[in-house]
Structure formats: C-alpha cells, structure tokens
Symmetry: C2
Subunit: 214 residues, 2 copies
C-alpha cells in the first residue's frame, strides 16, 4: 500500500498535466488549416478538461485541495510546453499524439503501483480515443504531399522525448514520494530500466505508425 503522499502527488501531477494539455491543445488548435481540423483538436482539449475535472474531484474527495496538489508540478509541465511549443500544425499533431502518448504510458505504468481506486481512475482518463487515427491521417497526408517533412517531424519527435524525459527526471528528483513509488513498485532499478524500455518501445511504435524514424 503506497503512502497517501505518493497518491496525492500522482493525482496532482496528472491533474495539472490534463489542465495544461487542455490549455496547449486549445492554443494549438489555432494552427489548424481548416475549421474541421481545428474543431478536432479543440475536442481533444475539451476531453482533457473532462479528465482534469475527474482528477480534481477525486483529490477533493480525499480531502486535498486540487490547487495545492497541482502546484509542485506546474513549473516542470510549463517548462516542457514552453520548450516544445509547436510552430506548425503538423508539429502540434505529432506532439498531441507522441508527446501526450508517452506521458500516458508513463502514468499507466505507475498507476499499477497505486491503490486500486486511484489506479483505475488514472487508467480511465488515459484513453486516447481516436487520436492515433487523427495523427496518422494528418501526417500521412502531409508526407504524401511533401516527403521532406518526414525528416523534420522525426527530429521533432526526438525533441519531444528528450524534453519529456528531462522534465520527468526533474520532478522525480524533487518528489521523494514519487521516486519511492516508482522504485518500490518496479522492485528495483532493473525494474525501473524495464519500465523505461517499455515506454521507449511504445514511443517507437507510435513514430513508425506515423511513418517517422524514431
């Protein structure tokens, strides 16, 4: 049974992750080439907000102020977003699928170390309903039209991974409870390495599905 502190940290980090994903997806929707593509990305933002609401409600149920729980994670997430601000529509599409997908894999892995109620809630807010199809369609169409975009987007994918890992390390270095949850959950450092390998493999699969080198 993990310490309550780790659960609050996990819910707080994910809640702020959803709130900032809402914010940045809503912003990036402005890069869309058509009104219907803009509506699709806006819808992803609205879905993330719904997830935020569920996580904030759960924190409140546990007697924790959501704002207090989220505050320790604001800086790392905003740094990630400011270092990976898309400058084109395709960059925003790849970020929404690849960047958010990797974060989701991380939370999904860690969710099994939390109590069952928390774990189920976390897994329920991590479904990426339709995002893969959306990203594959947009990126495939762009590469078909102009093959040279593939190289630039592959680099962009690597940058997303690099910044995500860097910020995750900052958070773990700063939050003992989360580091303990991770190390105790996986059993030992070999377990941590295996977890990182699984996340990396799934990242590579996503890049392949987009037709990009990982």
């Amino acid at each position: 049974m993990p310490a309550e502190e780790a659960v609050v940290d996990l819910l707080g980090a994910l809640a702020y992750g959803e709130l900032s994903a809402f914010d940045h997806l809503a912003d990036d929707a402005g890069l869309a080439p058509t009104l219907s593509a803009r509506a699709e990305m806006s819808e992803m933002a609205a879905v993330e907000f719904g997830h935020y609401r569920q996580l904030a409600d759960r924190l409140a149920e546990l007697g924790v102020d959501p704002e207090t729980a989220m505050t320790p994670f604001v800086a790392a997430l905003e740094t990630y977003h400011s270092l990976t601000k898309p400058s084109t529509w395709l960059e925003s599409v790849v970020k929404a699928y690849v960047g958010d997908g990797m974060a989701a894999d991380f939370y999904r892995e860690v969710s099994v170390f939390a109590d069952e109620t928390t774990g189920e809630l976390i897994r329920s807010v991590l479904t990426d309903a339709g995002r893969a199809e959306f990203a594959v369609r947009e990126v495939a169409a762009a590469i078909a039209e102009q093959p040279s975009v593939a190289g630039r987007l592959a680099l962009w994918g690597r940058r997303l991974v690099g910044e995500a890992i860097s910020q995750t390390q900052h958070v773990l270095a700063d939050r003992d409870s989360l580091m303990r949850l991770l190390v105790e959950g996986t059993g030992d450092l070999t377990g941590v390495v295996a977890l990182i390998n699984r996340i990396t493999d799934r990242h590579a699969e996503r890049m392949v599905s987009l037709g990009l080198d990982s």
Copy 2:
C-alpha cells in the same frame, strides 16, 4: 415556417460562436490569478465546445457541412474577439458574462422564429450555468479591494456592447436570410426595436448585478 437557409445560417453562426468562445475562453483562462480560477474559466470553454459539437451534429443531420455553414460568420466573430481582447483577468470575466450573455439573449430571441427542433436546440445550448455567480464573485471581490476598477470595467462593458452590436449589424447586412427571419419573426420594425430593447434591458441588469454602471 422559416426558410431552411435561415436555419442553416442561425446554426452556423451559433456553432462558430461556440467554437470561437471555446478558443477565447481557453486563452483568457491564462489570465487567471489562481489555478482554481483558471480551471473555472477552462471549464466554461469545455462546456462551449460541447455546445459546438451539438450544433455541428445537427447541421450534419440536416445534410449540411458544418464548416460550410460556419464560414460566413468567421470574419465578424473574429473581428469582435480581436477588438475585445481582454488585457486583464477582470476584463475576461466581464466579457465571459456580459458579452456572451448578450449574444445568448440575441440567439434566444431569434430562436423562437425558427422551427421547434432548431429553437429547442438553440435554447438548450444557451444556459449560462454558474457564470453569473462566478462573475459577480470575481468582480465584487476586486471592487471591494480597489473601488476604482468599477469605472474602468463599466467602460469595458460599454465597449463590449458597442462591438457586439456593430458586428451583428455587419452580419445582418450580409445575410438576407437572417435579416428576413428577424423582421418577419418580430412582425415589423417596431418588433425589432422591442427585441433590441429587451436585450439592452437584460444587459443593463447584468451590469447592475456586477455593481457596474451600464
């Protein structure tokens, strides 16, 4: 029975109104002084997106591409938003309540001239659940702390009305079907004047509830 064209225009204008409200509320949430205030305004944005989805689905049911139906209204709505871009949190709060409230009153009035299904759908997406309480709380707290903001916010309220009226006139001058719906629905120009007076009265009530001169 109004012409189908007017119904499509009405749904298209309101659908784009919701999509752009989503976009601007999500953006303005960034001005919030606290994470919980930011979450409250983000939630309003997510709710507007849900309304957009209902209207776009209805257009699709009628065999109309939502993008085609919205396109004629993009310029007027974006002009309104660019001329009323809040530069402070309080301006964004007043805009979300007073500006969106006036637009809602206009659509509510016109909805009774459309067929019953359309009218009911329009009225159902115009509920401003909790927005009044939110705005009154934020503005009252700010005025209590610094009474001089009341004058500036009253001017801001007048600017919102002015720009909203101006853009509505542009749209009506451009869309015969909507102008006909309005004039035939109200009966004659006396009816149009009465409708405008009702909207103005409700606007004044909103300003009073905020403690601002209208």
